[in-house]
């Protein structure tokens, strides 16, 4: 008889990294479908190219470094989609491929692969593209459907400056009848996906609720309409799908709330006072860097530990 002898426990949950990533992919589908509906087939093409680039880069770099190939866990697919979701539907087709390559090669694999990236790979990719081709990354299209009113994003309109136009109605922002990045326009589609992630336990409420809640409170305090701020721009995509990235957000419950509040604070400040119309991605990136520190200072109380007076 050939018995295996290991340390306990001897049973494990059926859940795996692949199942989690599959859930994220499912949750991203409503937003993708909406993007294709409103921006046309180009949105799908950009997404496919971005995903292919992410998967090929991951396979290649792992093969080159003689590490086990982990593309089967689908995390590179998620990164690819998220990079595509963060670019304008008007970008040239090679651009998201470069963004994904940067996300996978530099942000993810260079730091040790899955679980080791210190910032969100897709946002790192986006920041790289924005720094390299600022004009292309902020040139918006008049959307594919007749009802879409303007190519400029609502946040750019709110900011004033070069973008002029009429601010779309809150309803149009909510369903996504507006200009913007491929995956960010429809708050409704993103909320459907987010509800699925919450139901499946892939994410918790802590980061998204504290993030969005802070933006609401602060924009209200700054004398702006908070509805415009939560439904326009990348807040929904950022709060539910990007800030909740496991590797680059805090582990502890308390830490996640601090992280969410920090993201919300930076977003509101950048949007209202900063030079950019949008601040979601930079605020998440900045908080990503702070995550290890937050974790360090929010170690949970161990069972039966007597609270120390500070």
């Amino acid at each position: 008889m050939n018995l295996i002898s290991t340390s306990s426990p001897h049973v494990r949950t059926n859940e795996s990294v692949k199942v989690i990533m599959m859930d994220v992919l499912i949750a991203l589908m409503p937003a993708l479908i909406w993007a294709v509906y409103i921006f046309g087939i180009n949105a799908l093409l950009i997404t496919v190219v971005s995903v292919l680039s992410a998967v090929i880069c991951e396979t290649a770099v792992e093969a080159f470094m003689k590490k086990p190939i982990t593309t089967g866990d689908l995390s590179a697919v998620v990164t690819g989609i998220l990079v595509a979701f963060n670019v304008s539907p008007a970008v040239p087709i090679w651009m998201p491929a470069i963004g994904s390559a940067f996300a996978i090669l530099i942000v993810k694999q260079l730091f040790g692969g899955i679980g080791q990236n210190f910032m969100n790979p897709a946002l790192g990719g986006r920041a790289f593209l924005l720094a390299s081709w600022p004009v292309a990354m902020t040139t918006w299209v008049t959307t594919g459907t007749a009802s879409a009113v303007s190519g400029a994003t609502p946040l750019a309109i709110m900011k004033g400056g070069e973008a002029v136009g009429q601010l779309p109605s809150v309803w149009n922002m909510f369903i996504g009848n507006i200009g913007g990045c491929i995956g960010e326009v429809s708050a409704l589609a993103l909320l459907i996906g987010a509800a699925y992630l919450l139901y499946r336990g892939v994410i918790t409420w802590r980061i998204p609720v504290s993030f969005i809640g802070t933006v609401v409170v602060l924009t209200l305090a700054f004398g702006q309409n908070p509805l415009n701020h939560i439904f326009a721009g990348g807040l929904m995509l950022g709060a539910f799908f990007m800030a909740t990235d496991y590797s680059s957000s805090p582990i502890t419950a308390k830490g996640q709330i601090i992280f969410g509040i920090g993201c919300g604070l930076l977003t509101a400040v950048i949007r209202v006072f900063g030079g950019y119309p949008e601040g979601v991605s930079y605020s998440i990136l900045l908080m990503n860097v702070a995550a290890p520190l937050i974790d360090k200072f929010t170690k949970p109380r161990v069972y039966g530990e007597v609270a120390k007076s500070v």
Binding site: L3, T6, H10, I20, K299, Y303, G304, E305
Partner: protein, 446 residues
């Protein structure tokens, strides 16, 4: 229905198959066939192994003392049968260490040692006498931890135990030994609790039973009726509900301090099996030489067998219709905290063997570890509030001082973190390693 008492964190292993308990929960306890040769290791408890007091060629009576307790934290071992000592030698124990083992040839007469007599009734015995019985009967925690019971029953002078808790949670999947015991011998369980309560001068006795054993709850409730200050409470079915500190919090709301013992909050916890064995020892003088063992998993006839200490695992499995398919793992105890054994021919039933679980390929976890994705599920389920992923990272790098800083020593080794990990990391194992290393480092410093 009001919310059931429970604790923070925890997991629900094998919930889809009713915690794996269906196999054996409706199978009545049956006496196992006593083998012709029994192998009784001198280490059946936490603490110093016993010293054999018999030698090769001796004849022994049933219940006769064969292993003397070596120190305070130790429990004597008695002969489970009458017969002849075939040998006393070092044998491989399931812990992986060689342990002095007494091999007894059964004469199938079951002649009881003449010194073994009933002690009397609980009401007539003094607390001191009761404690003496618990020691003489070789009682240990029969839930699996095998901590010598008399040590627990000797709280420091400056403490007072107001509540005795009996653990009838049986939160380990697959195991049904305690369930069947409570169902079939409720009076013995309650009587044991009554004895514990008197011994400790406690005001209250509570039996905690998980919600998935409603039938046991009903019969125990009835058995409690004649006694003042003894009752039963339903608790939520969740692992590790039966862990000492988690059980205490669920039943009393008290939190045992980190690094402290239950007595610090006025509580002593024991297992229902231990209580029943105690009651039996008082009534008949019979020491702990047999126990109920759930033989389950990939066997043809899952059963709850009343088995003598020293019966081999293979013998037990054979009595349950043998293996069903190809066994991949055999576990002594439950799947969450049990120990996987390497040879069922030499591993024998001990005082703490609550179950013999056979896992086939489908049930056994043989998936490979992959990289941590920092999802934090391990931290969410940890009933102690640790960050298993962080301790794991430090432990595999050998940074044990950091493990200590992250409170590795508070780990109760329930295995919830490894269970829930989607990357299939061996978190609990690495924390266990860290604990051993930390103890060694502390020892070296002294």
């Amino acid at each position: 229905m009001a919310l059931l008492h429970t604790f923070k964190g925890g997991v629900h292993p094998l919930q889809k198959i009713h915690e794996g308990k269906r196999y054996s929960e409706h199978v009545a306890i049956k006496a196992a066939k006593v083998p012709s040769v029994l192998m009784v290791p001198m280490s059946q408890h936490i603490g110093a192994p016993c010293k054999p007091v018999v030698k090769k060629g001796d004849t022994v009576k049933m219940y006769q003392l064969i292993g003397e307790a070596a120190g305070f934290v130790s429990a004597p071992i008695h002969s489970p049968v009458s017969g002849k000592i075939k040998d006393v030698k070092k044998m491989m124990h399931m812990s992986g260490k060689e342990v002095e083992t007494i091999i007894i040839e059964n004469d199938f007469k079951d002649e009881i040692d003449e010194n073994v007599k009933p002690y009397g009734t609980i009401d007539d015995l003094t607390p001191e006498q009761l404690k003496d019985i618990s020691l003489k009967a070789g009682l240990v925690g029969m839930g699996g931890a095998t901590f010598p019971t008399h040590v627990k029953l000797s709280p420091p002078k400056d403490t007072h135990c107001d509540t005795v808790i009996l653990n009838g949670a049986e939160c380990e999947p697959f195991l049904t030994a305690d369930h069947r015991l409570m169902l079939e011998m409720p009076e013995l369980v309650v009587k044991g609790l009554y004895a514990f309560k008197k011994l400790l001068g406690a005001e209250r006795g509570i039996i905690g039973i998980e919600q998935n054993k409603m039938d046991a709850y009903e019969v125990i409730k009835k058995a409690c009726e004649p006694y003042d200050g003894i009752g039963v409470e339903l608790i939520k079915t969740k692992y590790p509900q039966g862990a000492e500190k988690q059980l205490i919090e669920a039943l009393t709301g008290r939190q045992v301090p980190s690094g402290g013992l239950p007595i610090a909050v006025g509580i002593v916890v024991s297992n229902v099996g231990t209580a029943a064995t105690f009651a039996q020892a008082i009534e008949t003088g019979k020491p702990l030489v047999e126990r109920i063992v759930t033989v389950t998993g990939a066997v043809n006839e899952p059963s709850n067998l009343l088995a003598r200490v020293g019966t081999t695992f293979q013998d037990m499995i054979d009595q349950c219709g043998g293996f069903k398919g190809e066994p991949v793992k055999i576990i002594s105890g439950g799947p969450m905290m049990g120990m996987s054994i390497f040879d069922p021919e030499i591993t024998t039933v001990g005082k703490g063997t609550s179950g013999i679980l056979v896992l086939d390929k489908q049930l056994a976890n043989t998936e490979k570890e992959t990289a941590c994705i920092r999802c934090g599920r391990c931290a969410t389920v940890c009933p102690v509030g640790l960050l298993p992923l962080t301790i794991n990272a430090f432990s595999i790098k050998g940074m044990y001082d950091k493990c200590d800083e992250y409170k590795a020593m508070d780990c109760i080794e329930c295995g919830s973190c490894s269970f829930i990990c989607p990357a299939k990391r061996n978190l609990a194992q690495s924390i266990r390693v860290a604990k051993k290393q930390i103890l060694q480092i502390r020892k070296n410093k002294k």
